[in-house]
Symmetry: C2
């Protein structure tokens, strides 16, 4: 499951498959929050929306777009906050969470880290044998993130090791807090 975080719209995309095998499109959509609600209500709505997606699809891994402070300053705080909610939702279930930058996603999908959005969407449709990329754009971005994550995942052994390491740290963190 890929998540393209945003306070107003979080893109979510689910792709099934593994490296070296054809990938198949499962689902894509958007978790929205209303701009005129207070921040706590918005974050809570995003949490509930992401939890519903995790309940429905039980992904093996979650990939979240890595947010940079250099981007548009007016929206970056909200994006960082939405990403924190999404990451915590997945981590709470013990699902491994990876982060990829927008240029890593573009490079994985099109071969160029500076590809146009339209080129990424074209390749997403092609890779998944769809007549067009999922809509809206945030959903397509999240699907691209899922594909990127599978293709960058490398050997299954490496993924399994990372998940074990993650589970170990999670357990240590829980023990440290006595819960």
């Amino acid at each position: 499951m890929g998540i393209d975080p945003g306070l107003t719209r979080c893109g979510v995309g689910v792709v099934d498959g593994s490296i070296g095998r054809p990938l198949s499109f499962v689902s894509a959509g958007v978790v929205r929050s209303a701009a005129d609600d207070d921040l706590p209500v918005r974050l809570l709505g995003i949490e509930q929306g992401i939890d519903t997606w995790l309940d429905d699809y039980e992904p093996d891994a979650v990939a979240v777009e890595r947010v940079f402070a250099q981007h548009n300053v007016s929206t970056v705080m909200g994006t960082a906050q939405a990403s924190a909610v999404a990451i915590t939702c997945a981590a709470r279930r013990g699902i491994s969470v990876a982060m990829h930058t927008p240029s890593e996603v573009k490079a994985a999908i099109t071969g160029s880290g500076r590809a146009e959005k339209s080129q990424v969407q074209h390749m997403v449709a092609r890779v998944l044998s769809l007549s067009a990329a999922p809509k809206p754009a945030d959903a397509a971005d999240a699907v691209a993130l899922s594909i990127c994550h599978i293709w960058r995942g490398g050997a299954q052994e490496r993924v399994a090791r990372a998940q074990q390491e993650f589970a170990r740290k999670l357990e240590l963190a829980r023990q440290a807090r006595g819960r």
Copy 2:
């Protein structure tokens, strides 16, 4: 309860009282996460730490320092993410969450929005009849946030109205997501 968010250290401070009456210090401390852990583990640890504080003190309201993108760019993303986790923890329990800027806190405590940290700490100790401000600095900042929130809270009626409005929106958000 005041929360001064940070990825490495979240200050937490609890103050009891209401506007126009002497305030009393209840507790202060820090929720930490290890810099060498992955972000998901860190955010989950912060969530568990904040949840423990909320369990232990059951605050009527939570005040979180408002984060600005203008601050130190290298830490601001982590601060925004930690704040999102703290805000969501409180909102999930139906506790009203307010945000105050650092200069609002300084102005409330010392009369000047540009006061030095040492001046704020001096006044925190004085207002709470303590021999010194709580340590470390993040804990003292969180206590200052609590005091600021009580003093800026205004009439109890206004707070109650805001809480009702918050509960209503929360319920609407829940219904909209069918959960």
